[in-house]
Symmetry: C2
Subunit: 423 residues, 2 copies
């Protein structure tokens, strides 16, 4: 079964909003055995909406539309759909009630434009939106054997997600008999896409024949590898993918830091929990980003004590015990300083690990000896304090996010060594 | 002049990668007076690539394609384009040299798959990629009066951006006479889209007639409003938009926190600099995210001293001087604790402002009295210490990012009051 997504909004084409909805929908559809065939983003123009709908309906049986349902006058999706399906807009009293309550519950005044959101196409199925005032709409054409469905959803991500999970996907599963698709992914760190591909080349050659599809998803410093299979029988798809995964881990397991959708911070938290270790960070150039990425993981409080974001040198001295002399002689971006920061935060916060960063994130502040992108990471642990130097690029944001990855990967590496020393 | 973007990659449809390229390209095209007409995302399948190309070329004169140029075998864009334009792939010695140097400079081994990246369609114009090993390609059809151009770019964002800025946009400006488009945006905070719209309704009615287009871009807790105009004369477009912006600020200026693409953290840093103030944060539930968002702004070191991410209660006591008794009696998520955190970090780090957060981000950890989403924000400043309580939702990530916005907006609000007291 094929589906398409149409996202509507001038802001998408003008580049003021990144479309995160379609990626989420793609992942959900995939999980349910539906292949997302195409994503189309168009403006809030009725002619464009109509054209994109006609094209998508000619290619696939399920078209999911998001956006353009807001209360302001640049939102034209509802009117266009009503006219496309030849359904007049009528006041839906039940929805009007729901919207009225929505505003009452929040102690907010309801405006005429919000009242208009209860004007809905007569004859479509209303999908109640419990998180906002724009309802979902389900339009169905064709007979029971080969139905064509268009679903209109609000563009606000969490409203769209709620409607997908509670209304759309259950209906879709009832209507279509879906083949089973299964996939798993591994996250590798510190090996480039080409090298990884070369490492598994001979084995990879035979995969397609075995009904296993492999894909590489590179990100800075990381490559995610996805194995997938489609089959009428769920067991068959699962077995094929699990076999492939096991074989891959034999060949390239040393580069794998996490399985499936697990992120690197999730893998770090899990590994710290398993090893009964705790961590604190002392951050200069990363400015709290390591702490933020760890605490984004639910349950991280079991292993994460806190962080001292020592942006100013005075804070490095006062809160972390960095020697004034070393700051003067070697500068803040140096091996002795980052080692003292790591040691300092470990001691102050009483953790197994102290992780520290100090670098020149850019875009300015570089010198001939320490150009922009010079980053020191320090790790203090039960075995002592070590520092590593990285020479990254000239983009502030990327330097910070790469440093976060490198620092977290280092913790995992150290925990793995600990494991292997034990066994 | 109209353009379309085609992004290629199974990972986009499977939802494993969010397409950030097309938003960036949309913003750049808009800046250059080119209207992005449609964005299409398709899989790495030659038949899909060919179909999408044919459709886009029938609608617009410029088609920008990203993705599918990597060295691995799931990347099929180059081969498909070569066959679509009837150009054989031949070894380009100059590019081969460049790729060889690229690997030498990094001390990395070059693999046969990387060598193959120098096999390029004979007759297309090569756009040298200085940041990676996948070259850009420029295919031109038609005559000089009405050329049709297809450009293929790598999917790695910073490689694509470099090629767009250095190669694609300069060429586009040479070929087409572009109308001038001008736009400005304002960022409002703390007022819903409907209320904002109602506030300016009468005035908004006349905008389209005056050749000014308005759009609302809502985000959690914020609405960005964009005013744009298109004209053959740049002056005319600029004048119309600037007039509209001035009128809008008259009507709704009290809700505006930042102008143009300036983010809230950028506005905070700028306002702190202008007011000669400094700041430090004491973060529990935000886990360093406020510090990370401030330090993401280049030059923030002028106003940001540091942060104490006090995730564990012991850290709140030891590093921030929170009273053990208050933690015990009121709990960490309480008015007295967040006020002591704010006061503590302000005193310890010697800043004008101390900003603190403590809350239950979720997904678990809530109680009847303090459900998930209960967030306290404390602000210590020259006038004393104040705390505010917010009741947010049940989504951990959204609770954190909303708290960051609310906390930063509070700083701006306080600085504005300071301004108005002065004047």
């Amino acid at each position: 079964m094929l589906a398409e997504v149409i996202t509507i909004g001038d802001e998408l084409l003008l580049g003021q909003t990144i479309d995160t909805n379609s990626a989420w929908m793609g992942a959900e559809l995939t999980k349910h055995g539906i292949a997302l065939h195409r994503i189309t983003s168009i403006s809030d123009a009725p002619a464009e909406i109509t054209a994109a709908l006609e094209e998508a309906m000619s290619r696939v049986d399920l078209v999911l539309v998001t956006g353009g349902l807001g209360p302001t006058r640049d939102d034209l999706t509802k009117e266009t759909l009503a006219s496309f399906f030849g359904m007049p807009l009528v006041m839906n009293e039940q929805v009007l009630n729901q919207i009225t309550h929505w505003f009452e519950n929040r102690g907010m005044e309801m405006l005429p434009v919000n009242r208009d959101q209860a004007m809905l196409p007569e004859g479509c199925e209303i999908l109640p939106n419990l998180r906002g005032t724009a309802m979902g709409m389900w339009f169905q054409k064709g007979d029971e054997v080969s139905p064509k469905v268009v679903v209109s959803l609000p563009g606000v991500p969490y409203e769209m997600k709620g409607l997908m999970e509670e209304e759309v996907l259950p209906r879709v599963q009832k209507i279509w008999k879906l083949p089973k698709r299964y996939h798993r992914t591994v996250l590798t760190q510190g090996i480039g896409e080409s090298f990884l591909s070369a490492l598994i080349e001979d084995w990879e050659d035979g995969l397609e024949e075995r009904g296993i599809h492999i894909a590489y998803l590179p990100a800075p410093g990381q490559v995610r590898v996805r194995f997938s299979a489609v089959d009428d029988l769920e067991d068959a798809a699962v077995r094929r993918v699990e076999e492939a995964l096991e074989e891959f881990l034999e060949l390239a397991g040393q580069h794998v830091v996490a399985l499936d959708e697990m992120s690197l911070p999730e893998a770090v938290v899990q590994s710290l929990v398993e090893n009964n270790c705790t961590i604190a960070t002392a951050e200069s150039c990363t400015g709290g980003s390591i702490a933020a990425s760890i605490t984004a993981v639910p349950g991280s409080s079991a292993v994460f004590q806190g962080s001292i974001v020592a942006y100013a040198n005075a804070v490095k001295q006062q809160m972390l015990g960095v020697a004034a002399k070393d700051l003067e002689v070697h500068g803040a971006v140096s091996e002795p300083v980052v080692m003292q920061m790591a040691k300092g935060v470990r001691e102050k916060l009483g953790t197994t690990y102290g992780l520290a960063t100090s670098g020149i994130a850019g875009p300015s502040g570089g010198t001939a000896l320490k150009p922009v992108g010079t980053i020191w990471v320090g790790l203090a642990g039960p075995k002592g304090v070590v520092a590593r130097k990285f020479q990254l690029g000239d983009h502030r944001g990327r330097n910070v996010s790469k440093t976060v990855l490198l620092a977290l990967a280092w913790i995992l590496e150290d925990l793995k060594q600990k494991d292997s020393q034990r066994s």
